[in-house]
Structures are given as C-alpha cells and as structure tokens.
Amino acid sequence: MSASSATSTAGIPIHEALCRWVFSSIGKKTIVAVTGILLVLFVTGHMLGNFTIYFGPDLINAYAKHLRDLGPFLWVIRLGLLATVFLHIFFTMLLWKENATARPQKYAVGDPIKTTVFARTMRLTGLFVVAFVIFHLGHFTLMIFNPSWTHLDTELHGETVHDVYRMVVLGFSNPIVSAFYIISLGLLAFHLSHGIGSLFQTLGLSTRKMRPVYEAVARVYAWALFVGYSSIPISILIFGLGKNTIK
C-alpha cells in the first residue's frame, strides 16, 4: 500500500516531464507564443524609446547614453533577446518541418479556407524581419555601413557622447534606407496581425466570445506599431525633422 502510493505520487522525473512538454505539439507552440510576447514587449519598448527623437537631440542622446551605461546589464538584455529570437525561430522551424510532413500530398485545388493572408505569410514575413533586424543592427548599432558615424559626437551636459540624433537623421535621409525600413515594419505588422491575436489562442486564454476581441485588438496594436515606427523616417525624409543639425 505505502509502496504503491509512493510510486503513484513520484511519477516521472521532472526533467523528463519538462522535455516531453517542450517537444509536444502544444509545448512547442506555447514556447513560440511566450517568446513572441517577449519580442512584442521589446518592439513596443524600442518604439517608445525611439519617440525621444521628437523631443530634440538632448533627450535621445541621453536615452542612448543611459542604455550604454547599463554596461554588463545591457549584455544580459542583449543575450536574452538573442536567446528569445533563437527559441522563437527554432521552435517555429520544428513545427514547420512537422507540418510539411503531415500532408505528404497537397490538394490539387488549393482553396485557402478562412485563413487570413497574415496567417499564411507568417514564415515569409518572419524571415524578412530577421533579415531586416540584421541590417538594422549593422546600420545603427555596429555602424558597419557608415564607419564615420562612430565619430559622431556631441556635448551633453558637459560630457562628450555619441550623437545618436544626427546618426538617425543621417540614416533616414537616405530614401532607400527609409523605404526598406518602412517596408520591413509593414511586414512586421503583417506578422503581428496574426501573431498577437494567435498567442491568446495558443496560451489557452481565448474563448468563443473573446477571440474576435483579441484579434481586433491585435490588428490595431500591430498597425499602431507600424505607424509609430514609420513616423520617424517619414518625419525626417518628408517633414525635415533634424535637417538643421546635419548641415
């Protein structure tokens, strides 16, 4: 009696149980959803940070300096983000591979039933956004395309700091860069138009009544991000934001 009750409560080892969950269909989807939330939070925070550009050079330069001053903690955030992106893509690829083998023969008449264009293009838009992020890091973080930008300095409260304001204005003064930026953000909005609404379903928070609400809110949120981000290159390129600082 005591022996049997002992085994019935012990169950399987915790790492084994965790592993089973992680690699189950629902586990993989949940990981994609949770990492997706973290990335949406990052994208939101990043946009709010970008908005400091509207309050003049001092604010965005101070904001950039604060970020740099985080030092080792900045690297924790960076590596955390990298791990999040990796997990998001890795588990998507696993799901993709399984989904491709689950239907060995396709239908001759391919009628996309109900699915939205946002849902059908998730992988494509996702991969495009990854390519954009790599360009974006090389452009503004590593400055490999314009090495002279590393010497863009300015005075801030008696200190010499990197002039992020002028760098951004210079960067977006190039119409091709701005166009690529806006297109990429548009594709991110496509991705999130399905992604944000979808994660409520995957995490089991959705109900019959709430699903249309989540989806509508997700759609609005995704395109609000697009408008927010795109407003900066448009302000610089079309409305001449910061023009006087780069002459």
Binding site: W21, V109, I113, T115
Partner: protein, 253 residues
Amino acid sequence: MNFTLRVWRQDGPTTAGRFEEYPAKNIPDEASFLEMLDIVNEELEKAGKESVQFDHDCREGICGMCSLTINGVPHGPGRGTTCQLYMRKFQDGDVITIEPFRVGAFPILRDLAVNRTALDKVIQAGGFITARTGSAPDANSVPIPKVVADESMDAAACIGCGACAAACPNSSAMLFVSAKAAHLGLLPQGKPESERRTVRMVRTMDDLGFGNCSNYYACEAVCPAGISASFIARLNRQYTSAAAREAVGATTI
C-alpha cells in the same frame, strides 16, 4: 444538370494516383452529392469500368463516414457533411474536382476512401470515463450548471469525420481532439480522468503524425458539427496545466 467530374483514382495505399475525368449527365438537382456519384458509378459499371470508391454510411449527416474534398473544401461548399450537399448548390456545366481527405495520418485505401483509424486511436487513448456498475444512480443527483452542460454538448456534437484535419493546411487534428477531450472533461462524470485523458490524447495525436495547429481556423470553417475552435484554446490550457502538474508530481498521467 450536367457536370464534369475530375476524380482522384488510386488503386491502393501504395500505388500512385491520378485524376480522371468523367461526365455526370442528367443529374436531378435534388440529388445529393453521393447520389450523383452513385449515378456516375452505375454508368461506369455499365461501360465495364471500375466504379469510384468512396466512404458513406448513414447518409443523413450524423455518422461522420462520408468524406471527400470537393473543389478544395472538405465536405464541399456550405457547412454540412458531403451526404447533405445537394447538386442544386452547383451550376449546370460545372467542373467539380473530387479528392480524398489528404492527411498523412489518413492513408488512402482506394480512390476517395481513406483510413481514419488514427481518430479511433485518439479515442482509445482517453475517450472514455470510469463508470460505476450496479444500479443506476438517481437522475439529476449530480448538479451541472447549464452553461457547462451546453458547452459539453456542443463538443459532443463532433461526429469524428476528420474534415478538420483535412481542411487544416498543417493536417492538424486539434479540433477533433479538443472536442473529444472537452465533451467528457467538462462533465463531473468525466472529471476523474480529465488530466490523463487530455495528455494521452494529445500525445497519441502527436505520435500519429498529425501536424500542429497554427490557428488558421480552417477546421472550424468546414466542421459539419459546428465545433468551435475555442475548444482548442481549452485543450492548450488543460494540456500545459496537466503536464506541469505531472512534472511536479501533483498528478500522474
């Protein structure tokens, strides 16, 4: 009414299939889709050709045996089973493409007939309750809130036809599995096995080679029983909670 049928013909599970075209002539508009196929098959047999094999049983929309993907849509246009689809839904002279349910876990037996044993395996994994033998319990002795009973009955409407997996671009059977887990799991009679049922059904589904849900909701759009994809959200929630409780030793599966 006259139609041209493009029908998938396949001699066996391992042989390659192909489309063949057959005329469907003088079809009454009140004929069901299956009756139209019966008429075409009679003509084929008269001409000394092999008739087209397709699944059917009750022909009144409740057994879940009929299948067929018609012009890319499982059970064809409109919501309902293939047997409840009438030829008046089509235009005279239409070319109609008829394919089997294309799901890796449903191997083609012959022509349009597929083997849906995979769904039975999911049921065997947990689609049951433990019932007390002996005299019948007092009716209505177990109080069940009306919303819960209704929700359970909505899930119980699933006829297990497999159209959800056939419509899903990923061949995922999540709508079927979620309906079966919910229909028993919501009621007090099915509660004792609830966690075990959910986890075992999902694991069996995964092992059988169905795809993963991408929240496309094509399943819900074609389901002849009107099962809501909200049951999939419930399954996701219950599976993760049961797996977590198993991991920490609060339950066994």
